[in-house]
């Protein structure tokens, strides 16, 4: 599997704090990778570094084999890296359709507003938002706003899509619907980076999980391996619990 995105020894400092510490990993085309870790582990920083919102302090980032450091965030969006954010970011006084059309118009290289709107309509049907296409974005429910974020990102025709806590604040049935969407997107060949707190979501949707802890990558592998990884348990549940767990594992 060829890599769509490769991180080589990427670090990011905020003053004296090393928010990302020598991260090296690569993402294959069509993979769904979960990024998990406790609060403050550097998950969102990782997304911000890739999208150049907060550029890396050191290290190399390769997209499709080409280095992308030094590009501005709007260029990053144009070359095919899209993201949704933890806090939804709609254009409140544009219609839902125009919100999505904006993504097509400015990132996907669609030239006319009319073409962008028709391309947006496809995404709205795909994400199940066609029924509210002509409502103002400000009037949507939280679940629909999250879908709007997704539709907007998809309209950008990304090769890499980073979903930052796209399920936070949704109820169980909404999460199931969102998971179906994520699988459908991955099936169309888009690489997905899923940043999540909810273990259930990550274990369900991802073919691979990477665990961050205090800015370092402490584990990277298939879900089954990650769940049993001592370092991961330690990061999440503390050293004492990990030691007890190890004993239980050895005796059984």
């Amino acid at each position: 599997m060829s890599a769509i995105l490769e991180l080589r020894d990427v670090s990011r400092n905020f003053g004296g704090l090393r928010a990302l510490d020598g991260i090296s990993m690569s993402f294959g085309i069509g993979e769904v990778i979960g990024i998990i870790g406790p609060n403050g582990a550097g998950k969102t920083t990782l997304v911000n570094v890739i999208t150049a919102v907060t550029p890396a302090s050191s290290g190399d980032i390769l997209f499709n084999g080409n280095p992308i450091q030094g590009l501005t965030p709007d260029r990053i969006a144009q070359i095919g890296i899209a993201r949704t954010s933890q806090i939804v970011q709609p254009f409140p006084r544009l219609t839902v359709l125009d919100n999505v059309a904006a993504g097509a118009l400015f990132a996907a290289g669609v030239n006319t507003i009319a073409d962008a709107r028709s391309s947006a309509m496809e995404q709205l049907e795909f994400t199940g938002l066609a029924r509210v296409a002509h409502k103002l974005a400000a009037t949507l429910s939280l679940a629909d706003r999250k879908r709007l974020e997704l539709a907007k990102s998809l309209a950008m025709k990304p090769k890499l899509l980073m979903l930052d806590e796209v399920n936070a604040g949704l109820n169980a049935s909404e999460i199931d619907a969102a998971l179906d969407l994520i699988r459908a997107i991955a099936a169309s060949g888009v690489t997905i980076l899923l940043i999540e707190h909810l273990m259930k979501v990550v274990l369900n949707a991802c073919s691979r999980i990477a665990v961050l802890h205090q800015g370092r990558l402490i584990a990277d592998g298939i879900p089954e391996a990650i769940v049993g990884d001592a370092k991961v348990i330690e990061a999440y549940l503390g050293r004492k619990f990990a030691a007890r767990q190890r004993k239980v594992m050895e005796t059984s």
Partner: protein, 348 residues
């Protein structure tokens, strides 16, 4: 919000009649009215221009006076060097546009209040520079232009149509912008700049374009103005009200709409002239009060508000007041207000 006034046939009829009235106005108006009409068109051009940066992009620019004064001086100096007036106006517009691009690249990374202050200072800096360049600009003594070789009425008509052309160009630009990729992007920036970057909008370039558009027609209007009045001095050219009035007008008419700035300019100057003629002594106080009331009742401007709903909402309050009126004859508020207004009129 997109093209609100285009959405209803009634609005289109009103808009077309309104614009046609401007076209045929010189044939029915005397010179006094023509003068007011010319001022109205000048402020329409200024308000339409502010709408590009303030309405579409949502950046509160106070640079209008800077562009206006610079355009006036460039136009005046060029004409004194023997360049025909229309060419001088075009060159003034061009130079002001270039100036705006340079300044825009410097100050457009600022946001909100910081941007407002930075844009406000440009005019002050230019005023001091022009004050100092006495040999070229006449300094504090002002710049005189040779009188036009025209009759009084022809001159009034000539400048009316010149301003109409500048305002017309600004309006056409607004219509084109509203339908363009640039206009779409500016509306995105206005509503959420971070999200705009994230979907691939080069916000620096878009904002600079809006700032540039907001300068061109102001510079031209300044140049036409100096030809019209034949005299300009730094205090008048960079008067801060030249920056403030277009903002009030645009907000009154509806920021980000197409015809809002023109309606706003019309309404504002109509109010200003009426109040000025009736309350000579305290006209600015009354005008201020009226503007406050208008903003209070129409905070988003005429074209961004469903006027009928405003009338309905306040009608309920008024109906209650008038129903209860007989019981409160002793403190008849309405009669009281009328009496105050009469007294004020007698005094002035």
């Amino acid at each position: 919000m997109n093209a609100l006034f285009c959405s209803k046939p009634a609005h289109i009829v009103v808009a077309v009649l309104f614009l046609l009235a401007f076209l045929f106005f010189p044939w029915v108006a005397n010179n006094y009215l023509l003068r007011i009409g010319t001022t109205m068109l000048m402020y329409s051009a200024l308000a339409l221009s502010w709408n590009f940066i303030g309405g579409f992009a949502g950046y509160p620019s106070f640079a209008t006076a800077a562009f206006f004064g610079l355009g006036a001086y460039v136009g005046g100096i060029l004409q004194n060097k023997g360049i025909p007036a229309p060419l001088a106006w075009l060159l003034a517009g061009l130079l002001v546009t270039i100036f705006a691009v340079v300044i825009g690249r410097i100050i457009l990374h600022l946001k909100g209040h910081y941007f407002a202050i930075a844009s406000l200072v440009i005019g002050d800096v230019l005023r001091e520079i022009i004050n100092g360049m006495t040999s070229l600009t006449g300094g504090g003594m002002g710049l005189n232009l040779a009188a036009q070789k025209m009759g009084v009425t022809e001159q009034a008509q000539f400048f009316y149509f010149s301003m109409l052309t500048v305002a017309g160009l600004a309006l056409v630009t607004t219509v084109l912008l509203d339908r363009s990729r640039l206009g779409f992007g500016l509306r995105c920036i206005e509503q959420n700049e971070d999200a705009a970057v994230r979907i691939g909008i080069n916000t620096d370039r878009f904002k600079t374009a809006a700032f540039m558009l907001s300068s061109t027609f102001v510079g031209m209007a300044g140049a036409v103005y100096v030809s019209w009045t034949g005299y300009i001095d730094p205090g008048e050219a960079f008067e801060v009200l030249i920056s403030v009035k277009p903002i009030v007008m645009t907000l009154l008419g509806g920021a980000g709409t197409i015809l809002g700035p023109v309606y706003g300019a019309f309404l504002f100057l109509l109010l200003e002239e009426t109040v000025w003629r009736n309350f000579l002594n305290i006209h600015s106080g009354i005008l201020g009060l009226l503007v406050v009331l208008l903003i209070l009742f129409l905070p988003r401007g005429i074209l961004n508000t469903n006027l009928w709903s405003v009338v309905e909402a306040h009608a309920r309050v008024l109906r209650t007041y008038f129903r209860l009126l007989p019981r409160f004859q002793g403190i008849n508020l309405w009669a009281w207000v009328v009496r105050i207004i009469r007294n004020i009129r007698h005094q002035s």
